[in-house]
């Protein structure tokens, strides 16, 4: 298993109940798989998760991106700034 952190914003943070989650995931897990892990852990996150964007270490990534030890994943629900 590898250890990563996930940071949550806005409505996603409210559902998860905190800013940051440290979790262990299998090696070779990609973003799409992480998303499923998070939905299992937090079922109310599903609607947001399906339309969320993701960044790893402050760079936007596609959902096939593989995660490595110590990555910081940002879970970015649909934006509403401006």
């Amino acid at each position: 298993m590898i250890k990563i952190s996930v940071v949550f914003f806005a409505g996603a943070r409210d559902i998860v109940g905190r800013n940051r989650l440290e979790i262990e995931i299998p090696p070779q897990t990609n973003i799409a798989e992480l998303r499923e892990i998070l939905i299992v852990k937090f079922p109310r996150l599903e609607d947001l998760a399906r339309r969320a964007a993701f960044a790893v270490n402050e760079i936007f990534v596609l959902t096939d991106t593989l995660l490595v030890e110590n990555d910081e994943v940002a879970f970015l629900p649909a934006v509403s700034g401006g």
Partner: protein, 138 residues
């Protein structure tokens, strides 16, 4: 080119003056302001939150792309964070270009992209005290 997130009120006068230059014939300033009424719903306040490092980086990318596409001479983007009252400015984009059609197109396209991709969110509080994060695609 100045791009920033801020907790302070946005001073649009300075943004326009910073964009004024002798090579430009047009300056367009856009302000997004907190609207009190949307349909039948009333807004008491909005709270803006950003994933700041990525939001700034994304704003800079949007700005760089627009600069080369539209012949922008000068450009400023400021996004306010924190709690805002109706009427206050949440975002300001100012561009100058040699000709006016480019200034309008550039400013509008920058705003469209900001709304689409920059990791900033708003939470709306109604007069009854109910607060909701806005996630438009849900």
């Amino acid at each position: 080119m100045r791009i920033k997130l801020t907790n302070e009120p946005i001073v649009h006068h300075d943004m326009v003056e910073n964009c004024r230059c002798k090579s430009a014939g047009a300056i367009v300033l856009f302000l997004g302001t907190v609207r009190e009424i949307t349909g039948n719903e009333q807004t008491l306040s909005l709270e803006y939150e950003a994933f700041a490092p990525l939001a700034e980086k994304t704003l800079i990318e949007i700005a760089e792309q627009a600069k080369s596409k539209w012949g922008i001479q000068k450009l400023e983007i400021i996004h306010r964070l924190g709690i805002l009252q109706p009427g206050e400015t949440s975002i300001a984009v100012c561009v100058s270009t040699p000709h006016r059609a480019d200034a309008f197109a550039a400013c509008q396209q920058i705003m469209d992209k900001i709304k689409e991709v920059v990791p900033i969110w708003k939470k709306e509080t109604s007069p009854k005290g109910v607060s909701n994060w806005i996630h438009p695609k849900i």
